[in-house]
């Protein structure tokens, strides 16, 4: 290497250090970009599309019952097996033709039982948020919630009953709407 190019490379090297210092100094003067979490939260428009845990979608007319038809597809498709539907069979009250409710009538009416959803259990600890259950639900009874600030002290706190959650939400909502209606009325 000739002396000239060597001295030039030294000069360039030292200049590069100064450029580096300049860049850090510039950034030092710029405002910070941190979100101070407990006092500030991420703005809602940045949370668009973010997936929280799944939740049940209520029927349009009845906010207390989900659209779910208990087909169990979500539970079988789930890769982690974290969905469990608890159902009971409830007899459909059907008036027997004779009018009397005898023992034999009940036996013949065995096929006319109706499944009823008692609980929709989600073990959020194992959920990988792949969205297969939402995508596969044939009646669109599942969607992602927006509960993203979740924290707890134990594993058990993340085992949800989505049906109870839906009802509690609907209750709060109707309680809010009720006084409005009253005032309107």
């Amino acid at each position: 290497m000739s002396n000239y190019s060597k001295s030039q490379s030294i000069r360039e090297g030292i200049w590069s250090l100064i450029v580096g210092l300049k860049i850090t100094a510039k950034n030092f003067l710029k405002p910070t970009i941190t979100v101070h979490y407990p006092r500030e939260t991420v703005p809602t428009d940045k949370l668009e599309g973010y997936r929280g845990h799944i939740e049940l979608v209520p029927k349009p007319k009845d906010p207390f019952t989900p659209k779910c038809i208990m087909c169990n597809l979500c539970a079988t498709v789930c890769p982690s097996g974290c969905i469990k539907l608890v159902t009971v069979k409830e007899p459909i009250e059907e008036k027997s033709k004779s009018g009397t409710n005898t023992q034999e009538d009940k036996k013949t009416a065995k096929k006319k039982f109706k499944k009823k959803l008692v609980a929709f259990e989600l073990n959020y600890n194992y959920c990988s948020l792949c969205g297969l259950c939402v995508q596969n639900c044939s009646v669109k009874s599942l969607r992602f919630s927006k509960d993203i600030y979740l924290a707890g002290y134990s594993k058990e706190e993340f085992e949800y009953d989505l049906l109870a959650r839906l009802r509690a939400k609907a209750k709060v909502k109707s309680a809010k709407e009720l006084p409005q209606k009253n005032s309107e009325g």
Partner: protein, 388 residues
Amino acid sequence: MLDTTLDSLDLRGDFYTRNFQPHPSENRLILNMGPQHPSTHGVLRVILEIDGEYIVRAEPVLGYIHRMHERMAEVKRYEQYLPNLGRIDYLHALAWNWAYVGAVERLMGLEVPKRAEYIRVITCELNRISSHLLWWGAYLLDLGAFTPIMYAFADREIIMDILQRITGSRLTYCYYRFGGVSQDIDDKFIEQTKELCKYLRPRLKMYKDFVTDNIIFRKRVEGIGIIETEILRKYGATGPVLRGSGIAYDVRKTKPYSVYSEIEFDVPSYELEDAFGRYLVRMQEMEESLKIIEQCLEQLPAGDFILPKAPKRPKPPAGEVYFTVEGARGEIGVHLLSDGSAYPYRLKLRSPSFSNLSLFPEVVKGTLLADAVSILGSLDLVIPEIDR
């Protein structure tokens, strides 16, 4: 002043140290770099035999986060395996998504709609940029500069915000489905992505001024970790490691899949063969990715984002398929064998980092400890991908 009682303690090492063949001589030191070491990025462990600070021999030890993904594939149905893919290489999750989904599609003969292909290219390239950004920051962290990773994260955050709106997750994406993607992109996404492209170019220029031209950085990477083509071939290295040695092999270009053949972009390669060459390739690739994204946004056709007739719970016919895509770290391959049932018969995941790391012992011989860190970083390893 060593305590003689030390011999009674079990200091003979564990299984891997004892099997570090041939045994080192008396005047050399065996050093366990990792599994908890700041510059092995996760839980890689490298047994080093050192003479002073010179490395005589090195042997990586794997398996600290081995999860047996290949066995998991055999006990899960095809669609149930999808979330696993995002967790193999968490930095370029969408490439793994694509490799698997593509393999199944090829086996079933599914024709993916044009729009879905474009969406896949856009999201995959966004993910590649975010992966390279993280690598850039982490590599500089290895070399002792603390600030670049914070700048890289600030930019990466924007990409993650954009992808989050569409895919629903920020890191372990599970977005691609058989025959398309799970959600269509909208105008806001397109607008945000265009803004990102405009924003990132000056940032990349700033990175160049800040780091690439820096004399201390240059001295740390130039001429370090020279990998000859012959070694690359025998170890099957791919990706930027290969292109840093002057071989312009890129699956996107050499054997185009999806719509890559319709897009104009260069495959950067440098014949430097050293860590700096690999560094330059990745920096250049980010700009190429931006180019690809911009072209795709312009050419984006209307149509379905997923094949309407695509089976949600597929049962591919019996057969074999080997599908490769270009990930941020190299060629990702999925070798899938089906016996016609709803469960894969055998799924082999060919991870690029695995092959890239396997040449590390060859390259690191005779270098300084600080250079070993520099070389290890320049290979861009993601340990979950190696261990699978």
